[in-house]
């Protein structure tokens, strides 16, 4: 890859990487994994840089990040193990406060629901764009959004999420 292309790639990566990191963090739940996933996405975009437009590169990178996050959560050693004993709440936690912050609550959702919510509400993608990124139908995006929001609201036990059911076209 020539210097011009490296320059264009660098400019694109500087513009895009922080948003991708945010997406990856919300999907994976920790910054180290998120950085690994973003690095992998950037490598894949770099390999195809001569074949794709910068606008498509962002969409492609987002797809790699989302797919990698979904895939990681499907690996057997990443799955949750049922436990007979629930962990104690941290000492000093207020009884009437939310049980989860948004990252912990997202981690409790099925991977696809989590990806749908992050792409729609963090990346501000429309239903159709979210469907394209994840390779699912717009109907699945809508139902995953609705179910995901219900579950988030339940987990966070806070009225701040009330009224999030309205679908953006």
């Amino acid at each position: 890859m020539g210097e011009d292309r490296d320059g264009a790639f660098t400019e694109w990566a500087q513009r895009t990487a922080q948003q991708l990191r945010g997406t990856a963090y919300l999907l994976c739940g920790d910054w180290h994994t998120a950085d690994d996933v973003v690095q992998d996405a950037l490598v894949r975009v770099y390999e195809r840089w001569h074949r794709i437009r910068p606008e498509a590169a962002t969409s492609y990178a987002r797809r790699v990040v989302a797919t990698a996050a979904v895939d990681r959560s499907r690996r057997p050693w990443r799955r949750e193990v049922p436990s007979e004993v629930l962990p104690d709440r941290p000492s000093g936690a207020p009884d009437d406060g939310p049980d989860y912050d948004v990252v912990s609550a997202l981690a409790e959702l099925p991977a696809r629901q989590r990806a749908v919510l992050v792409l729609r509400f963090f990346d501000d993608l429309s239903v159709d764009d979210t469907a394209r990124v994840l390779g699912i139908t717009p109907g699945t995006v809508k139902s995953s959004t609705s179910r995901g929001l219900d579950r988030l609201r339940e987990l966070m036990r806070t009225p701040v999420l009330a009224g999030l059911d309205e679908e953006k076209p």
Binding site: M1, D6, F9, T10, A13, A17, Q18, R21, G22, Y25, L26, W31, D35, V38, Q39, L42, V43, R44, Y46, E47, R51, I52, R53, A56, S59, Y60, R63, V64, T67, A68, V70, D71, R74, R75, P76, W77, D101, V102, V103, L117, V118, F121, F122, R132, V133, L134, G135, I136, T137, T140, L149, L152, P159, V160, L161, A162, G163, L164, E166, K168
Partner: protein
């Protein structure tokens, strides 16, 4: 309350991100390393295929009356494999479907994605899998085969270059596991990860 509440929560959550720079030379180096790994895998696969052919020829020669080969000592089952722990959770021993989808997805041309998988999507014991594709012109199928002789991909919706890239990437990913995709383990059940 509006959608903006969740947006704000998410933005706040990533607001205190630790600093991290992604340098283009490092990314370029990682891309080159990835290419080298793929080429190395092709080399290993080629040697494996050649060894298989040589072994087949040797066995065939023996059957046809050629010089007898000295028997080769075989390790006993007890020596080679410890007793399985029935309570253990096994790591995948062959390429999982989820990783296959990620690998394929990354090699698809812009505008084409892997479609929604069927609930029973899995590698067959023969080392093949069929994935749905969503393209701008509609749905399509992608067939992938990983065998001892190499990897192949076939789809009416994709060009030769994309199919070659997919086959290469799947081969490289499959080589990271001890068994070929779809390997039967535990006396007849398909590897749950595959």
């Amino acid at each position: 309350m509006s959608d903006n509440d969740l947006r704000t929560l998410m933005r706040d959550a990533v607001g205190d991100a630790p600093a991290r720079e992604f340098s283009t030379p490092v990314i370029a180096s990682a891309a080159r390393a990835r290419t080298r790994r793929r080429r190395a895998w092709y080399g290993v696969a080629g040697i494996g295929a050649a060894a298989s052919v040589a072994a087949a020829v040797a066995v065939g020669g023996g059957l046809l009356g050629g010089p007898a080969l000295a028997p080769v000592a075989q390790p006993t089952a007890a020596a080679s494999s410890p007793a399985p722990d029935p309570g253990a959770i096994g790591l995948p021993t062959s390429l999982p479907v989820g990783e296959t989808v990620a690998v394929v997805d990354a090699e698809l041309p812009a505008g084409t994605t892997v479609g929604e998988l069927a609930m029973d999507a899995a590698w067959t014991p023969a080392g093949t899998i069929e994935l749905p594709l969503a393209t701008s012109s509609g749905a399509a199928k992608l067939s992938i085969a990983v065998t001892a002789s190499g990897c192949s991909a076939d789809s009416a919706a994709l060009g030769g270059a994309s199919l070659d890239a997919i086959a290469s990437a799947v081969c490289a990913a499959a080589s990271q596991y001890p068994n070929p995709p779809g390997t039967v383990v535990d006396g007849g059940s398909i590897d749950p990860a595959a």
